[in-house]
Amino acid sequence: MLDLQGFGHLLWQGAWVTVQLALVSLFFGLILGLAGAAAKLSPVAPLRWLATGYTTLVRGIPELLLVLTLYFGGSMLLMAVAERFGYTEYIEVSPFAAGVAALSIAFGAYATEVFRAAIQAIPQGQWESAAALGMSPTLTFRRVVLPQVWRLALPGLGNLFQVLLKDTALVSVVGLNDLMRQAYVATGSTKEPFTFYMAAALIYLGLTAVSTLISAWLEHRADPALNRGAIT
Protein backbone atom coordinates (compact mmCIF):
# COMPACT_ATOMS: atom_id res chain seq x y z
CA MET A 1 0.00 0.00 0.00
CA LEU A 2 1.20 3.52 -0.76
CA ASP A 3 2.57 5.30 2.29
CA LEU A 4 2.73 8.87 0.96
CA GLN A 5 4.94 10.18 3.79
CA GLY A 6 2.68 8.65 6.40
CA PHE A 7 -0.45 10.31 5.04
CA GLY A 8 -1.61 7.25 3.13
CA HIS A 9 -3.84 5.96 5.94
CA LEU A 10 -5.44 9.40 6.25
CA LEU A 11 -6.49 9.26 2.60
CA TRP A 12 -7.97 5.79 3.07
CA GLN A 13 -9.92 6.99 6.10
CA GLY A 14 -11.21 9.84 3.97
CA ALA A 15 -12.13 7.43 1.20
CA TRP A 16 -14.16 5.40 3.69
CA VAL A 17 -16.08 8.54 4.76
CA THR A 18 -16.67 9.31 1.06
CA VAL A 19 -18.09 5.81 0.48
CA GLN A 20 -20.34 6.06 3.55
CA LEU A 21 -21.63 9.45 2.47
CA ALA A 22 -22.34 8.15 -1.05
CA LEU A 23 -24.17 5.04 0.16
CA VAL A 24 -26.33 6.79 2.76
CA SER A 25 -27.24 9.49 0.20
CA LEU A 26 -28.03 6.79 -2.36
CA PHE A 27 -30.47 5.19 0.09
CA PHE A 28 -32.40 8.40 0.79
CA GLY A 29 -32.06 9.53 -2.82
CA LEU A 30 -33.73 6.36 -4.09
CA ILE A 31 -36.64 6.88 -1.70
CA LEU A 32 -37.00 10.50 -2.83
CA GLY A 33 -36.78 9.43 -6.47
CA LEU A 34 -39.49 6.79 -6.12
CA ALA A 35 -41.73 9.19 -4.22
CA GLY A 36 -41.08 11.87 -6.85
CA ALA A 37 -41.94 9.50 -9.71
CA ALA A 38 -45.10 8.34 -7.96
CA ALA A 39 -46.10 11.99 -7.45
CA LYS A 40 -45.35 12.88 -11.09
CA LEU A 41 -47.60 10.08 -12.32
CA SER A 42 -50.28 10.68 -9.71
CA PRO A 43 -53.84 11.63 -10.73
CA VAL A 44 -53.75 14.35 -8.04
CA ALA A 45 -52.70 17.57 -9.80
CA PRO A 46 -51.08 19.38 -6.82
CA LEU A 47 -48.82 16.35 -6.25
CA ARG A 48 -47.73 16.52 -9.89
CA TRP A 49 -46.99 20.24 -9.60
CA LEU A 50 -45.00 19.66 -6.43
CA ALA A 51 -42.88 16.96 -8.08
CA THR A 52 -42.32 19.06 -11.21
CA GLY A 53 -41.31 22.02 -9.06
CA TYR A 54 -38.88 19.82 -7.13
CA THR A 55 -37.14 18.40 -10.20
CA THR A 56 -36.98 21.71 -12.09
CA LEU A 57 -35.62 23.59 -9.10
CA VAL A 58 -33.00 21.06 -8.04
CA ARG A 59 -31.76 20.24 -11.53
CA GLY A 60 -31.23 23.94 -12.29
CA ILE A 61 -29.11 24.96 -9.31
CA PRO A 62 -25.55 23.85 -8.50
CA GLU A 63 -25.06 21.00 -6.03
CA LEU A 64 -22.43 23.12 -4.26
CA LEU A 65 -25.05 25.80 -3.59
CA LEU A 66 -27.35 23.11 -2.19
CA VAL A 67 -24.63 21.85 0.15
CA LEU A 68 -23.82 25.38 1.33
CA THR A 69 -27.48 26.31 1.81
CA LEU A 70 -28.29 23.21 3.82
CA TYR A 71 -25.18 23.52 5.96
CA PHE A 72 -25.29 27.24 6.72
CA GLY A 73 -29.03 27.70 6.41
CA GLY A 74 -29.98 24.30 7.82
CA SER A 75 -29.39 25.09 11.46
CA MET A 76 -31.32 28.37 11.08
CA LEU A 77 -34.24 26.54 9.53
CA LEU A 78 -34.21 23.78 12.13
CA MET A 79 -34.00 26.28 14.99
CA ALA A 80 -36.92 28.23 13.57
CA VAL A 81 -38.99 25.04 13.43
CA ALA A 82 -37.87 23.92 16.90
CA GLU A 83 -38.77 27.31 18.34
CA ARG A 84 -42.38 26.73 17.43
CA PHE A 85 -42.29 23.67 19.66
CA GLY A 86 -40.72 25.65 22.49
CA TYR A 87 -37.14 24.46 22.01
CA THR A 88 -34.77 27.42 22.05
CA GLU A 89 -31.30 25.84 22.31
CA TYR A 90 -28.76 26.12 19.50
CA ILE A 91 -29.02 23.35 16.91
CA GLU A 92 -26.04 22.57 14.74
CA VAL A 93 -26.20 20.63 11.49
CA SER A 94 -23.19 18.36 11.04
CA PRO A 95 -21.37 18.47 7.69
CA PHE A 96 -22.25 14.81 7.17
CA ALA A 97 -25.98 15.40 7.71
CA ALA A 98 -25.98 18.48 5.47
CA GLY A 99 -24.07 16.48 2.85
CA VAL A 100 -26.50 13.56 2.98
CA ALA A 101 -29.45 15.95 2.72
CA ALA A 102 -28.02 17.90 -0.22
CA LEU A 103 -26.77 14.88 -2.17
CA SER A 104 -29.93 12.84 -1.70
CA ILE A 105 -32.11 15.78 -2.73
CA ALA A 106 -29.97 16.18 -5.88
CA PHE A 107 -29.91 12.44 -6.61
CA GLY A 108 -33.65 12.18 -5.97
CA ALA A 109 -34.47 14.86 -8.56
CA TYR A 110 -32.63 13.03 -11.34
CA ALA A 111 -33.81 9.61 -10.11
CA THR A 112 -37.42 10.86 -10.29
CA GLU A 113 -37.06 11.15 -14.07
CA VAL A 114 -35.40 7.73 -14.39
CA PHE A 115 -38.12 6.03 -12.33
CA ARG A 116 -40.88 7.91 -14.14
CA ALA A 117 -39.60 6.76 -17.52
CA ALA A 118 -39.21 3.20 -16.24
CA ILE A 119 -42.74 3.11 -14.81
CA GLN A 120 -44.16 4.50 -18.04
CA ALA A 121 -42.30 1.82 -19.99
CA ILE A 122 -44.43 -0.87 -18.33
CA PRO A 123 -47.23 -1.72 -20.81
CA GLN A 124 -50.66 -0.36 -19.89
CA GLY A 125 -52.08 -3.85 -20.41
CA GLN A 126 -50.38 -5.09 -17.26
CA TRP A 127 -52.23 -2.50 -15.17
CA GLU A 128 -55.46 -3.52 -16.84
CA SER A 129 -54.97 -7.24 -16.35
CA ALA A 130 -54.04 -6.68 -12.71
CA ALA A 131 -57.20 -4.62 -12.31
CA ALA A 132 -59.19 -7.43 -13.97
CA LEU A 133 -57.79 -9.80 -11.33
CA GLY A 134 -59.18 -7.45 -8.70
CA MET A 135 -55.91 -5.86 -7.60
CA SER A 136 -56.00 -2.29 -6.32
CA PRO A 137 -53.70 0.27 -8.03
CA THR A 138 -51.42 0.33 -4.97
CA LEU A 139 -51.13 -3.46 -4.94
CA THR A 140 -50.51 -3.50 -8.70
CA PHE A 141 -47.77 -0.94 -8.29
CA ARG A 142 -46.10 -2.92 -5.52
CA ARG A 143 -46.44 -6.43 -6.93
CA VAL A 144 -46.44 -6.01 -10.71
CA VAL A 145 -44.86 -2.69 -11.68
CA LEU A 146 -42.14 -2.11 -9.09
CA PRO A 147 -40.25 -5.42 -9.60
CA GLN A 148 -39.97 -4.65 -13.32
CA VAL A 149 -39.07 -0.99 -12.79
CA TRP A 150 -35.90 -2.07 -11.00
CA ARG A 151 -34.61 -3.79 -14.14
CA LEU A 152 -35.47 -0.90 -16.44
CA ALA A 153 -34.15 1.81 -14.13
CA LEU A 154 -30.83 0.17 -13.23
CA PRO A 155 -28.64 1.55 -16.04
CA GLY A 156 -29.88 5.09 -15.43
CA LEU A 157 -29.45 4.78 -11.68
CA GLY A 158 -25.92 3.44 -12.16
CA ASN A 159 -24.97 6.59 -14.06
CA LEU A 160 -26.56 8.77 -11.39
CA PHE A 161 -24.61 6.98 -8.68
CA GLN A 162 -21.38 7.83 -10.49
CA VAL A 163 -22.39 11.49 -10.44
CA LEU A 164 -23.29 11.19 -6.76
CA LEU A 165 -19.92 9.62 -5.95
CA LYS A 166 -18.10 12.52 -7.59
CA ASP A 167 -20.36 15.11 -5.98
CA THR A 168 -19.42 13.88 -2.48
CA ALA A 169 -16.21 15.91 -2.91
CA LEU A 170 -18.33 19.07 -2.57
CA VAL A 171 -19.11 18.31 1.07
CA SER A 172 -15.44 18.82 1.94
CA VAL A 173 -16.13 22.54 1.45
CA VAL A 174 -18.20 22.58 4.66
CA GLY A 175 -15.57 20.62 6.59
CA LEU A 176 -16.44 16.93 6.27
CA ASN A 177 -13.29 14.82 6.61
CA ASP A 178 -13.79 12.98 3.35
CA LEU A 179 -11.15 11.98 0.82
CA MET A 180 -10.95 15.46 -0.69
CA ARG A 181 -10.50 17.17 2.66
CA GLN A 182 -7.87 14.68 3.86
CA ALA A 183 -5.89 15.34 0.70
CA TYR A 184 -6.13 19.04 1.50
CA VAL A 185 -4.94 18.43 5.07
CA ALA A 186 -1.99 16.34 3.87
CA THR A 187 -1.12 19.08 1.39
CA GLY A 188 -0.96 21.61 4.20
CA SER A 189 1.94 19.91 5.99
CA THR A 190 3.82 18.29 3.11
CA LYS A 191 3.66 21.14 0.59
CA GLU A 192 3.14 18.57 -2.15
CA PRO A 193 -0.31 19.44 -3.48
CA PHE A 194 0.06 17.67 -6.80
CA THR A 195 1.03 14.35 -5.23
CA PHE A 196 -1.90 14.29 -2.85
CA TYR A 197 -4.59 15.60 -5.17
CA MET A 198 -3.40 13.12 -7.78
CA ALA A 199 -3.56 10.33 -5.18
CA ALA A 200 -7.09 11.45 -4.29
CA ALA A 201 -8.02 11.59 -7.98
CA LEU A 202 -6.78 8.03 -8.49
CA ILE A 203 -8.76 6.79 -5.48
CA TYR A 204 -11.89 8.49 -6.87
CA LEU A 205 -11.15 6.85 -10.21
CA GLY A 206 -10.91 3.49 -8.44
CA LEU A 207 -14.22 4.09 -6.66
CA THR A 208 -16.05 5.01 -9.88
CA ALA A 209 -14.50 1.99 -11.62
CA VAL A 210 -15.75 -0.32 -8.86
CA SER A 211 -19.22 1.23 -8.98
CA THR A 212 -19.30 0.69 -12.77
CA LEU A 213 -18.46 -2.98 -12.25
CA ILE A 214 -21.11 -3.40 -9.56
CA SER A 215 -23.83 -1.77 -11.63
CA ALA A 216 -22.86 -3.86 -14.67
CA TRP A 217 -23.10 -6.96 -12.48
CA LEU A 218 -26.50 -5.88 -11.09
CA GLU A 219 -27.76 -5.18 -14.61
CA HIS A 220 -26.63 -8.58 -15.76
CA ARG A 221 -28.30 -10.24 -12.78
CA ALA A 222 -31.56 -8.39 -13.33
CA ASP A 223 -31.63 -9.08 -17.05
CA PRO A 224 -29.24 -11.82 -18.19
CA ALA A 225 -30.61 -11.72 -21.74
CA LEU A 226 -28.79 -8.46 -22.52
CA ASN A 227 -30.25 -5.06 -21.66
CA ARG A 228 -33.12 -4.60 -23.99
CA GLY A 229 -35.13 -1.44 -23.39
CA ALA A 230 -32.60 0.14 -21.05
CA ILE A 231 -33.40 3.64 -19.86
CA THR A 232 -30.59 6.08 -19.37
Binding site: I61, T187, K191
Partner: protein, 231 residues
Amino acid sequence: MSWSWEVIWEYLPRLIDGMWLTLELVLLSAIAGILLAVPLALMRASKNLWIRALPWGYIYFFRGTPLMVQIFLIYYGSAQFDLIRQTALWNFFSEPYWCALLALTLNTAAYSAELIRGAIQAIPKGEIEAAKAFGMSPLTLTRRIVLPRAFGIVLPAYGNELILMLKGSALASTITLLDLTGMARTIIARTYTPLEIFFAAGMFYLAISACFILVFRVIERRLNRYQYTPR
Protein backbone atom coordinates in the same frame (compact mmCIF):
# COMPACT_ATOMS: atom_id res chain seq x y z
CA MET B 1 -36.31 33.49 12.00
CA SER B 2 -36.99 36.49 9.88
CA TRP B 3 -36.83 36.64 6.13
CA SER B 4 -35.50 39.88 4.75
CA TRP B 5 -36.12 40.84 1.14
CA GLU B 6 -34.18 44.07 1.70
CA VAL B 7 -30.87 42.26 2.00
CA ILE B 8 -31.45 40.56 -1.36
CA TRP B 9 -32.38 43.88 -2.92
CA GLU B 10 -29.39 45.64 -1.39
CA TYR B 11 -26.85 43.10 -2.68
CA LEU B 12 -28.52 42.45 -6.04
CA PRO B 13 -25.94 44.49 -8.02
CA ARG B 14 -23.09 42.44 -6.55
CA LEU B 15 -24.88 39.18 -7.35
CA ILE B 16 -25.29 40.41 -10.92
CA ASP B 17 -21.53 41.07 -11.04
CA GLY B 18 -21.03 37.46 -9.97
CA MET B 19 -23.46 36.29 -12.60
CA TRP B 20 -21.38 37.88 -15.37
CA LEU B 21 -18.29 36.01 -14.21
CA THR B 22 -20.25 32.76 -14.08
CA LEU B 23 -21.54 33.31 -17.62
CA GLU B 24 -18.07 34.24 -18.83
CA LEU B 25 -16.53 31.09 -17.35
CA VAL B 26 -19.23 28.84 -18.79
CA LEU B 27 -19.30 30.33 -22.28
CA LEU B 28 -15.52 30.63 -22.74
CA SER B 29 -14.85 27.10 -21.52
CA ALA B 30 -17.74 25.79 -23.62
CA ILE B 31 -16.20 27.25 -26.78
CA ALA B 32 -12.67 26.08 -25.96
CA GLY B 33 -14.09 22.72 -24.86
CA ILE B 34 -15.82 22.11 -28.18
CA LEU B 35 -12.70 23.05 -30.14
CA LEU B 36 -10.83 20.43 -28.15
CA ALA B 37 -13.64 17.88 -28.18
CA VAL B 38 -14.14 17.68 -31.96
CA PRO B 39 -10.67 16.27 -32.80
CA LEU B 40 -10.88 13.98 -29.76
CA ALA B 41 -14.27 12.69 -30.90
CA LEU B 42 -13.00 12.12 -34.44
CA MET B 43 -10.12 10.12 -32.99
CA ARG B 44 -12.48 8.13 -30.77
CA ALA B 45 -14.67 7.30 -33.76
CA SER B 46 -11.69 6.19 -35.84
CA LYS B 47 -11.45 2.63 -37.18
CA ASN B 48 -7.78 2.43 -36.17
CA LEU B 49 -7.44 0.92 -32.70
CA TRP B 50 -4.37 2.98 -31.77
CA ILE B 51 -5.91 6.30 -32.75
CA ARG B 52 -9.02 5.32 -30.81
CA ALA B 53 -7.06 4.35 -27.68
CA LEU B 54 -5.08 7.58 -27.46
CA PRO B 55 -7.76 9.98 -26.11
CA TRP B 56 -9.31 7.21 -24.02
CA GLY B 57 -7.08 7.75 -20.97
CA TYR B 58 -7.71 11.49 -20.95
CA ILE B 59 -11.47 11.09 -21.26
CA TYR B 60 -11.57 8.31 -18.65
CA PHE B 61 -9.65 10.40 -16.12
CA PHE B 62 -11.71 13.55 -16.55
CA ARG B 63 -15.05 11.75 -16.50
CA GLY B 64 -14.12 9.51 -13.58
CA THR B 65 -12.86 12.09 -11.08
CA PRO B 66 -14.66 15.01 -9.40
CA LEU B 67 -14.33 18.41 -11.08
CA MET B 68 -13.19 19.76 -7.72
CA VAL B 69 -10.12 17.50 -7.71
CA GLN B 70 -9.34 18.64 -11.24
CA ILE B 71 -9.56 22.31 -10.27
CA PHE B 72 -7.37 21.78 -7.19
CA LEU B 73 -4.86 19.72 -9.17
CA ILE B 74 -4.42 22.56 -11.63
CA TYR B 75 -4.55 25.50 -9.22
CA TYR B 76 -2.74 24.13 -6.14
CA GLY B 77 -0.96 21.20 -7.80
CA SER B 78 0.89 23.31 -10.37
CA ALA B 79 2.81 25.09 -7.57
CA GLN B 80 4.68 21.87 -6.78
CA PHE B 81 6.76 22.02 -9.95
CA ASP B 82 9.75 24.32 -10.27
CA LEU B 83 9.40 24.00 -14.02
CA ILE B 84 6.12 25.90 -13.74
CA ARG B 85 7.00 28.23 -10.88
CA GLN B 86 10.19 29.56 -12.41
CA THR B 87 9.02 30.12 -15.94
CA ALA B 88 6.49 32.31 -17.69
CA LEU B 89 3.94 29.53 -17.15
CA TRP B 90 3.57 30.77 -13.59
CA ASN B 91 1.80 33.89 -14.85
CA PHE B 92 -0.93 31.56 -16.06
CA PHE B 93 -1.07 29.03 -13.21
CA SER B 94 -0.95 31.57 -10.38
CA GLU B 95 -4.22 33.11 -11.57
CA PRO B 96 -7.33 31.33 -10.21
CA TYR B 97 -9.29 32.67 -13.20
CA TRP B 98 -7.13 30.88 -15.79
CA CYS B 99 -6.93 27.73 -13.69
CA ALA B 100 -10.72 27.55 -13.36
CA LEU B 101 -11.10 28.18 -17.07
CA LEU B 102 -8.55 25.48 -17.92
CA ALA B 103 -10.15 22.93 -15.56
CA LEU B 104 -13.66 23.61 -16.86
CA THR B 105 -12.45 23.40 -20.46
CA LEU B 106 -10.62 20.09 -19.99
CA ASN B 107 -13.60 18.70 -18.09
CA THR B 108 -16.29 19.66 -20.57
CA ALA B 109 -14.07 18.61 -23.51
CA ALA B 110 -13.94 15.07 -22.12
CA TYR B 111 -17.72 14.85 -21.71
CA SER B 112 -18.46 16.59 -25.04
CA ALA B 113 -16.03 14.33 -26.91
CA GLU B 114 -18.03 11.28 -25.84
CA LEU B 115 -21.30 12.99 -26.81
CA ILE B 116 -19.95 13.94 -30.24
CA ARG B 117 -18.49 10.46 -30.77
CA GLY B 118 -21.93 9.00 -30.05
CA ALA B 119 -23.47 11.42 -32.56
CA ILE B 120 -20.89 10.60 -35.24
CA GLN B 121 -21.61 6.91 -34.81
CA ALA B 122 -25.35 7.58 -34.99
CA ILE B 123 -25.12 9.05 -38.52
CA PRO B 124 -26.81 6.58 -40.90
CA LYS B 125 -24.16 4.56 -42.77
CA GLY B 126 -25.88 5.22 -46.10
CA GLU B 127 -25.16 8.95 -45.91
CA ILE B 128 -21.44 8.34 -45.46
CA GLU B 129 -21.42 5.78 -48.27
CA ALA B 130 -23.31 8.14 -50.58
CA ALA B 131 -20.75 10.89 -49.92
CA LYS B 132 -17.92 8.45 -50.65
CA ALA B 133 -19.66 7.39 -53.86
CA PHE B 134 -19.57 11.05 -54.92
CA GLY B 135 -15.81 10.86 -54.59
CA MET B 136 -15.44 13.06 -51.49
CA SER B 137 -12.03 12.89 -49.84
CA PRO B 138 -12.01 11.91 -46.13
CA LEU B 139 -11.41 15.57 -45.19
CA THR B 140 -14.28 16.91 -47.27
CA LEU B 141 -16.48 14.10 -46.01
CA THR B 142 -15.73 15.05 -42.40
CA ARG B 143 -16.16 18.77 -42.98
CA ARG B 144 -19.28 18.69 -45.15
CA ILE B 145 -21.18 15.62 -43.99
CA VAL B 146 -19.97 14.08 -40.72
CA LEU B 147 -19.55 17.16 -38.54
CA PRO B 148 -22.69 19.08 -39.61
CA ARG B 149 -24.80 15.95 -39.22
CA ALA B 150 -23.24 15.10 -35.85
CA PHE B 151 -23.85 18.68 -34.72
CA GLY B 152 -27.58 18.35 -35.30
CA ILE B 153 -27.74 15.00 -33.52
CA VAL B 154 -25.67 16.07 -30.51
CA LEU B 155 -27.51 19.31 -29.83
CA PRO B 156 -30.13 18.20 -27.27
CA ALA B 157 -27.55 16.24 -25.27
CA TYR B 158 -25.12 19.15 -25.46
CA GLY B 159 -27.75 21.45 -23.96
CA ASN B 160 -27.75 19.20 -20.89
CA GLU B 161 -23.97 19.24 -20.77
CA LEU B 162 -23.98 23.03 -20.81
CA ILE B 163 -26.33 23.11 -17.82
CA LEU B 164 -24.13 20.62 -15.96
CA MET B 165 -21.21 22.93 -16.70
CA LEU B 166 -23.12 25.93 -15.41
CA LYS B 167 -23.62 24.03 -12.16
CA GLY B 168 -20.00 22.91 -12.13
CA SER B 169 -18.79 26.49 -12.57
CA ALA B 170 -19.93 27.13 -8.98
CA LEU B 171 -16.74 25.30 -7.98
CA ALA B 172 -14.71 28.27 -9.19
CA SER B 173 -15.68 29.81 -5.85
CA THR B 174 -13.52 27.22 -4.06
CA ILE B 175 -10.40 28.82 -5.52
CA THR B 176 -11.38 32.34 -4.46
CA LEU B 177 -13.15 33.46 -7.64
CA LEU B 178 -16.14 35.75 -7.13
CA ASP B 179 -18.59 34.01 -9.43
CA LEU B 180 -22.27 33.83 -8.48
CA THR B 181 -21.61 31.33 -5.68
CA GLY B 182 -18.39 33.01 -4.58
CA MET B 183 -20.12 36.39 -4.45
CA ALA B 184 -23.00 34.91 -2.45
CA ARG B 185 -20.54 33.44 0.07
CA THR B 186 -18.74 36.77 0.40
CA ILE B 187 -22.00 38.62 1.00
CA ILE B 188 -23.11 36.06 3.59
CA ALA B 189 -19.81 36.37 5.46
CA ARG B 190 -20.74 40.02 5.98
CA THR B 191 -24.50 39.88 6.51
CA TYR B 192 -25.00 36.37 7.89
CA THR B 193 -28.20 35.84 5.92
CA PRO B 194 -27.44 32.52 4.20
CA LEU B 195 -31.02 31.59 3.36
CA GLU B 196 -31.90 34.84 1.58
CA ILE B 197 -28.68 35.22 -0.39
CA PHE B 198 -28.32 31.56 -1.38
CA PHE B 199 -31.98 31.64 -2.42
CA ALA B 200 -31.32 34.67 -4.62
CA ALA B 201 -28.21 33.04 -6.13
CA GLY B 202 -30.20 29.87 -6.78
CA MET B 203 -32.83 31.87 -8.66
CA PHE B 204 -30.10 33.38 -10.84
CA TYR B 205 -28.80 29.91 -11.70
CA LEU B 206 -32.32 28.72 -12.43
CA ALA B 207 -32.91 31.69 -14.73
CA ILE B 208 -29.65 31.08 -16.59
CA SER B 209 -30.44 27.39 -17.15
CA ALA B 210 -33.93 28.35 -18.34
CA CYS B 211 -32.30 30.70 -20.89
CA PHE B 212 -29.92 27.94 -22.05
CA ILE B 213 -32.85 25.54 -22.54
CA LEU B 214 -34.76 28.14 -24.56
CA VAL B 215 -31.82 29.06 -26.77
CA PHE B 216 -31.10 25.40 -27.47
CA ARG B 217 -34.71 24.74 -28.36
CA VAL B 218 -34.57 27.52 -30.96
CA ILE B 219 -31.26 26.34 -32.48
CA GLU B 220 -32.47 22.75 -32.51
CA ARG B 221 -35.63 23.70 -34.37
CA ARG B 222 -33.57 25.54 -36.97
CA LEU B 223 -30.93 22.87 -37.41
CA ASN B 224 -33.29 19.94 -37.53
CA ARG B 225 -36.09 21.73 -39.35
CA TYR B 226 -36.07 19.15 -42.16
CA GLN B 227 -37.52 16.72 -39.64
CA TYR B 228 -40.60 18.84 -38.98
CA THR B 229 -43.54 18.93 -41.29
CA PRO B 230 -44.18 22.49 -42.51
CA ARG B 231 -47.15 24.19 -40.95
